[in-house]
């Protein structure tokens, strides 16, 4: 547990919570990233303006962090090209079919104690643990 960072995770989580509250109280919208992106693919859902604005803010965040902190966040991605493509497809399709992701179900829905979101969160957490186990300990990729 040398990399255990509960405090920064707690602070980061609180920021995400504040973000969800702002979007709900001011705009009346759910801060679910897959829903915000997916809604752009469906013109009938409307709201392109706020959706694109939210995504711009999301995408610009590392740069804002950079100007404030003097360093870009360091990330490590070890997945191969086929794994990246398969993972992306599953995340895109699955979040739309399931109606949400880590933010919409995992944070906003669980905070409302929505039965759908509680089930979805348990299922995607379990599937995530299982997939990581298979990739790391059975296949060894």
């Amino acid at each position: 547990m040398e990399n255990f960072t509960p405090l920064s995770a707690l602070i980061g989580g609180a920021l995400i919570g504040v973000s969800a509250v702002i979007l709900w109280v001011v705009d009346g919208r759910v801060a679910g990233v897959s829903g915000i992106v997916g809604g752009l693919a469906n013109p009938a859902e409307g709201g392109a303006g706020w959706r694109i604005s939210f995504l711009l803010g999301l995408c610009a965040a590392p740069l804002v962090f950079w100007t404030a902190e003097g360093g870009l966040p360091s990330i490590t991605i070890t997945s191969s090209l086929p794994l990246l493509a398969a993972g992306g497809l599953l995340v895109g399709f699955g979040t739309r079919l399931g109606g949400g992701c880590t933010s919409g179900h995992g944070v906003c829905g669980v905070a409302r104690l929505s039965p759908r979101s509680l089930v979805a969160t348990l299922v995607f957490m379990a599937a995530g643990f299982a997939a990581t186990f298979v990739v790391r300990h059975l296949v060894g990729a």
Binding site: G87, V91, F124
Partner: protein, 152 residues
């Protein structure tokens, strides 16, 4: 315009939350999901930090009929736990566990310039558009279960 500004601020705070918590880093996410390895439970604290804040904020709007800058709340319309919810969430979880990216962190990482982020996001968009295509093609099944009604 004001709506979009609020959304921009919310998106920025959301992204900063992902950066500060290291949830933007797939290696950190996989260390959290790898219970059988050298498990790093840090990212559980993202939810522990986010959920109470969101719960208190949402509670404060109870009894209000509309948000500050719109005529109505656009909450989720479906309440039933059904097969598409479970199947979709399982597929999402598998994809998350394969790479360590969920939609928010993947998008926020684009600006860091790793080709892997761009491949993942491109595939994710294909998956979302693919769902939309199937949704229209087999209207009866998928449309019944689409989660968000179009409010206007």
């Amino acid at each position: 315009m004001k709506q979009s500004f609020a959304a921009l601020v919310a998106g920025l705070l959301f992204g900063l939350g992902l950066v500060v918590s290291h949830m933007i880093d797939p290696a950190k996410v996989l260390a959290f999901l790898d219970i059988a390895g050298s498990w790093d439970p840090s990212l559980a604290f993202v939810m522990i930090g986010a959920i109470p804040v969101a719960a208190i904020g949402f509670r404060a709007t109870r009894g209000r009929h509309a948000p500050l800058l719109d005529t109505q709340f656009h909450g989720p319309s479906r309440t039933r736990v059904d097969a598409p919810l479970v199947i979709g969430s399982a597929l999402f979880g598998v994809g998350w566990g394969l790479v360590g990216f969920c939609p928010g962190p993947a998008l926020a990482s684009l600006v860091l310039g790793r080709w892997q982020s761009w491949v993942f996001v491109a595939a994710m968009l294909v998956g979302m558009i693919g769902y939309r295509f199937l949704d229209r093609a087999s209207g009866l099944f998928f449309r019944r279960y689409s989660t968000f009604i179009s409010p206007r």
